[in-house]
Symmetry: C2
Subunit: 341 residues, 2 copies
DNA sequence: CCTGTGTGTTAAAACGTTTTAACAAGCCGT
DNA sequence: ACGGCTTGTTAAAACGTTTTAACACACAGG
């Protein structure tokens, strides 16, 4: 109960604790970190002093000295137009939530970096010693900037560059899962509606679709839609298809926002789902679930993926792991009314 | 192209920049922050030196000197059982996403603190100069700890203590909206299924329900369900109600997880929604949207709420604002098949 | 008695900024 | 020629930790 200085609050520091415990600051540090041996009796004194004063270590000072911020950031490389809207809550946030708990379990904080146009500014203003990049695009600007800055980075979804560690989402397997299912429920010819960017998932879907079409003697119809106008673009594409009189009994449309557009176009065009046309999409998010009828999609095991990526990242940071990719959990199908036979 | 030291990387510091530009470190700092005047020509030299060396300020050092971390944290006080599962992606993440962009716009990072049992550890290990608390409970442990630590805090949803700034979610208005709607679509007697905790929203729903019941001469039936077992508990409660032969033509069930349970119990009990029973819930999340039939709910304007709270928080941190609450946007009804007349 | 070996502690340096107080130079009005 | 004012710059201190090198001490083996 000694009268404090008149300064506002003056949080106690390690030297206050040292003084109270009758030791030197260095010893307090050692007691806290356990890096060097300190006498049991001394440690006791220090602990009571800490409790007494309500000492909390100053993270900034600690960070500055050690160079470790104990912080990782999560970036979405999707254009804001894609990440925004109803999907915003989906993919990215689902991963972020899981990554946050995985990080916290390793006593690391996760900071949420919203989709932005200017990665440079963000990289300057925010301190982190590692980064997660969700679904990097080919030559992703955020990703390249990160690795050029020497910041340890783990991708979720395979990146275009080599030597960057990642947790694969195994897009080919996902594509096969959906394509096989379409055939199984009786579809015989279906177009692929896909994003125009060179994002890895788009590439995989195109490749697997081509292979499957060739294999089944099905004519290939690949419609590329700019990702920024996903929903409207997909609707337009399907409407054009209908107008052209092309017949099809299924649609493979990975991006959920585009799936919404497809469903609208089908409704407007008087096609019944699933009786006349079966529709499947990739991400099992709000959109897939709330469509009428609800859409068959894929359980990507995002929670596990996020946890693995986070673990890999912290190992990378402390130098316990190399840049080799992490095997990913196998995705499974979720069948819904949109493909009911 | 001078050969660098053999040390790993050695990021350039402010003194390197100063040396390259032929000035003192202090001047570089001034040029960067713009706090003091520096000659236009000198500033130019500094800027090119910065670009040349690829200098990025060390945030930790900056933080330590200024005491500002430029970081805020967002806490959910919900028990993990509630925050987990499908709802995890909903309420909390929707707010977090919006808060992140609002924070970033003010050049502040948002760190995501997952629901935890041990707030003390987190508060110790993570540096922040402000906090958002989502839906604080009465005498919320996280909240009390935060204010005791003197960390500026803004709540989303009214806290129990006084003097803590918050953005109201206006639970009474929300409750009234739903209750009025139930009456309007022809319901004459309906129970309230509500969380057992003393969370502000629960209290408000109880109060408004009582008032409305008294006013309409409707018998009161309030069923309290422990929040940890929301879905199962609510299902059980409704099943018991049916077994007891109590007749009702509507259900008011604010928590979406409980709504799922209610719908299941009604289905199992052979009651048709909306023909025999109308159901309304509060949060328009995945669950409300994917129920069959989809549930009438409320647009809480979470995006705006989160932005307001974040703005208030940064103002609070820099001392530009007092602890008075922030007026909140008015919620609106979203009518869905579950109350179709 | 001397040398070596732990053990536990400490004083001081270092981390990279920002801020403070001082200062030099130029200009103005007497 | 001198004091006062402005403008731009700087040297040095400060922020709170961790780490390094040194030290004091006890104790063992010769």
């Amino acid at each position: 109960m000694t009268s404090p200085q008149n300064s506002p609050v003056k949080r106690p520091t390690v030297v206050d604790v040292a003084q109270a415990a009758g030791v030197s600051p260095g010893t307090v540090s050692n007691a806290l970190s356990g890096k060097r041996k300190v006498d049991a009796e001394t440690r006791k004194r220090i602990e009571v002093a800490i409790r007494e004063l309500g000492y909390r270590p100053n993270q900034a000072a600690r960070q500055m000295r050690t160079g470790q911020t104990k912080t990782i950031a999560i970036f979405s490389s999707m254009p804001p137009a894609v990440a925004a809207g109803p999907s915003k809550l989906g993919f990215l946030m689902e991963i972020a939530a899981s990554a946050a708990v995985a990080a916290m379990a390793r006593n690391t904080a996760l900071i949420l970096v919203p989709p932005i146009e200017t990665p440079e500014d963000t990289l300057k203003s925010v301190a982190m010693d590692g980064a997660l990049v969700v679904e990097p695009e080919e030559d992703d600007p955020v990703l390249t900037r990160l690795i050029r800055s020497g910041i340890p980075t783990v991708c979720i979804g395979r990146p275009s560059g080599a030597g960057i560690p990642y947790v694969d989402l195994d897009y080919p397997a996902i594509a096969d899962l959906l394509i096989r299912h379409l055939f199984e429920v009786g579809a015989t010819r279906f177009p692929l509606i896909v994003g125009a960017s060179r994002r890895a998932s788009n590439l995989a879907f195109r490749a697997r679709y081509r292979a499957a079409a060739a294999n089944a003697d099905m004519p290939e119809t690949v419609l590329e839609v700019p990702e920024a106008e996903a929903e409207a673009g997909a609707a337009e594409a399907v409407t054009a298809l209908l107008a052209a009189g092309q017949d099809f009994d299924g649609v493979l449309v990975p991006t959920d926002a585009m799936a919404t557009g497809v469903m609208r176009a089908l409704r407007d065009g008087g096609r019944a789902v699933p009786d006349q046309v079966r529709v499947v999409t990739r991400y099992d998010g709000v959109r897939a679930q709330t469509e009428t009828p609800a859409l068959t999609s894929v359980d990507l095991k995002l929670e596990a993926v996020a946890a693995l990526a986070t673990q890999k990242l912290v190992e990378l940071i402390v130098g316990q792991a190399g840049p080799e990719p992490v095997p990913c959990p196998t995705p499974t199908l979720i069948t819904r009314p949109s493909t009911k036979p």
